[in-house]
């Protein structure tokens, strides 16, 4: 009898007591999650109405933000997009609070580490966002300049510039996150150094004649171009 009591019943009782102790936490977790979802939905609707009342979409259309969103694949209006974003932030915040309410040591440790890591994530995200914006900006500037200079592979020049700027920002973001801190930097330096060295060797040794012909053709073409558009027509 004692054996059955010790081996089967007592563990069940301890488990049951543990469950009874944990139950309020679980209920708090569920309640907080529900409150978060409801509050997030309500705030989303409220903000949507406020944004529409102040004609945010019209202003966005006027200053070109709407076109920018469409180009980034975001089909909804700016009001809906921002309202939904606010709603999700509220839900996420309540989810984190709800997880802490469970009072599970492992989860608490994970959350602590997560919150300590959060500033790095935020900084990396900001770097990536700005990197994306700058890569588009410089890529477009290079594309337009190349087209106006009459470079046949203008599209490739624009894409290359865009890619390089984004890779630089991605490298910085990864360094911020501590992912392969030195590895990424060294890999980046090796790849770019390698490309430049390869080009230098190709033009310097392998393709001396080709490089000379290429440069000569370009110089001749530029001189001819200057004659055509600069020497004869005064646009002003």
């Amino acid at each position: 009898m004692n054996f059955i009591q010790r081996i089967i019943i007592e563990p069940f009782e301890r488990c049951y007591e543990g469950f009874l102790t944990f139950l309020p936490n679980l209920l708090t977790f569920i309640a907080l999650l529900i409150v978060g979802i409801v509050l997030g939905s309500i705030l989303r609707l409220i903000f949507l109405k406020i944004f529409r009342a102040i004609h945010l979409d019209t202003a966005a259309e006027r200053i070109g933000v709407f076109e920018m969103l469409v180009r980034r694949g975001i089909r909804s209006s700016l009001s809906a997009f921002v309202a939904r974003f606010i709603g999700w932030i509220v839900i996420l915040t309540f989810a984190v609070i709800a997880l802490q309410a469970l009072k599970i040591l492992t989860v608490e440790n994970l959350l602590d580490r997560f919150f300590l890591y959060l500033p790095s994530v935020f900084t990396a995200a900001v770097i990536l966002v700005f990197g994306y914006i700058f890569s588009n900006f410089f890529g477009r500037a290079a594309l337009i300049a190349s087209v106006n200079a009459g470079i046949r592979r203008a599209g490739m020049v624009g894409r290359m510039v865009k890619l390089v700027v984004f890779i630089v920002s991605a490298t910085m973001a990864m360094e911020q996150l501590g992912i392969g801190r030195d590895t990424v930097l060294i890999a980046f330096a090796i790849v770019f150094g390698g490309i430049v060295l390869a080009l230098a060797i190709a033009f310097g040794f392998g393709g001396r004649d080709i490089a000379r012909d290429y440069l000569q053709r370009n110089v001749d073409r530029e001189r001819e171009q200057d004659k055509d558009l600069g020497d004869h027509i005064d646009p002003l």
Partner: protein, 442 residues
């Protein structure tokens, strides 16, 4: 002569001007310049010549100006100002050394004594506008009554130009004299396809050469120009000409035109970037639309502008054009810049341009209606800040080149008067679309 302190108000010509406290950006604060201005005291007429590495051509311009002042304004106190952009070829030395020794050869009986010269490098952003700013400042400091500016690379300038640019101001009370030239039908393509039609349509004044480069203006107007804070913008560069003309029109200064004959000048600097030039001129034009919407929105007709001078026919130097290269540049733009143009132009216009890019030279034609739609759409895109302004305006270059190629192909056999008729029709198209453009401008 009075050189005021910064942060004070001063009387320039007939109006007050406030000087900012932003530091010595003005060249007339320099001690040597102040000493020279003190020495001169006051002047009646000022002629300004902006320059940059024009040693080989500026001598002729200086002689023509000096002869013009001696011949037509012998009783006035006159000054020539060379505002230089840091030339390294001795331009300033040429200005100092150039003088007319034999006045009898230009039919001036008496020696001309009240003539002074100042040749100085200007301060500020490198460009024609900054050079003009220095000229305006010196005009204000010397309290001159009438000014003129002429380009330093002119080969066709004669002493009569000075009379024609100055006389309407001194004798007839005008404030602004725009030039009127006979030019080759393919010269002045930005003027003919964009700036002239826009000025005529938006501001209602038929100023045929609004960015001609050689202007006359009163001391009062020079003082007014100095009150504007535009010297860090495109106005400091090639935008100065359209800014001067539009500012004079929009602020109800009295304007007229002077027929100067042919405009023949040295070849443009081969390093000068066409797209940068287009960006500065069109950028300044669009900025002026932002500044004066209440003026241009209410203009419903074009008024003729009085013309001074005896109009005559002149022979013009031939112009060579490489249409094939122009078409290649347009096609490259149509192929690569489509996604950018989609933010600016209508679907129909994009489709038309895509089709045009595949059209052979013989059938290549960009109608006036499409071109006007392009210009108004770019103006609206600049107004709404759809994309970065420099990207927007520089992406206009292939379209402008395509339009120029179309114009050259269509007018290959046309005479000068037929080309003028075609430009008039383009202006009518700008008029037809003005109402819808004005309504879309919020």
């Amino acid at each position: 002569m009075h050189i005021p302190e910064r942060g004070t108000e001063r009387y320039v010509g007939h109006m007050f001007q406030t000087l900012d406290n932003g530091g010595p950006k003005t060249v007339i604060k320099r001690q040597d310049v102040q000493a020279r201005l003190m020495q001169i005291g006051e002047a009646d007429i000022l002629v300004g010549i902006p320059s940059y590495n024009n040693a080989h051509s500026i001598g002729h311009v200086v002689r023509a100006v000096q002869a013009g002042l001696a011949k037509y304004f012998p009783d006035k106190k006159t000054i020539l100002v060379n505002s230089d952009g840091g030339s390294t070829d001795g331009t300033i030395d040429v200005v100092h050394q150039t003088t007319i020794d034999d006045f009898k050869s230009i039919l001036v009986a008496h020696r001309f004594e009240s003539f002074s010269k100042i040749a100085i490098p200007y301060h500020g952003l490198p460009g024609k506008g900054s050079a003009f700013r220095t000229i305006f400042e010196i005009a204000g400091a010397l309290n001159v009554k009438a000014c003129a500016v002429v380009d330093s690379d002119l080969r066709s300038i004669t002493p009569e130009w000075i009379e024609l640019l100055i006389k309407p101001i001194i004798g007839d009370g005008y404030d602004y004299v725009a030039p009127l030239y006979h030019r080759h039908k393919y010269d002045g393509t930005i003027t003919n396809s964009i700036v002239y039609p826009l000025t005529r349509t938006l501001y209602g004044k038929d100023v045929r050469q609004p960015i001609g480069g050689d202007f006359g203006f009163s001391g009062r107007l020079a003082g007014f120009y100095l009150t504007k804070e535009v010297w860090e913008s495109d106005v400091a560069r090639y935008g100065i000409d359209i800014w001067m003309t539009t500012t004079a029109i929009a602020n109800n200064f009295r304007i007229c035109q002077a027929f100067l004959g042919a405009k023949i000048h040295d070849a443009k600097d081969p390093g000068a970037d066409l797209s940068a030039m287009l960006y500065q001129v069109v950028g300044a034009t669009f900025d002026l639309m932002e500044e004066y919407p209440q003026t241009w929105k209410h203009i419903a007709s074009t008024q003729a502008v009085p013309v001074f001078g005896f109009t005559y026919a002149v022979g013009l130097e031939p112009v060579n054009v490489n249409i094939q290269r122009m078409l290649e540049k347009f096609r490259l733009g149509a192929h690569e810049l489509g996604p950018i143009w989609e933010n600016i132009l209508s679907r129909d216009t994009i489709d038309f341009l895509t089709g045009l890019a595949d059209t052979p030279k013989e059938d290549f034609h960009m109608p006036d209606s499409i071109w006007v739609d392009i210009i108004y759409s770019f103006a609206l895109a600049a107004h709404r800040k759809v994309i970065h302004k420099e990207h927007l305006l520089k992406s206009l270059t292939p379209l402008y080149i395509g339009r120029t190629a179309s114009f050259v192909i269509e007018t290959w056999e046309a005479s000068g008067s037929e080309v003028e008729e075609k430009i008039n029709k383009l202006c009518e198209e700008y008029w037809r679309s003005k109402r819808s453009f004005s309504e879309r401008w919020q």
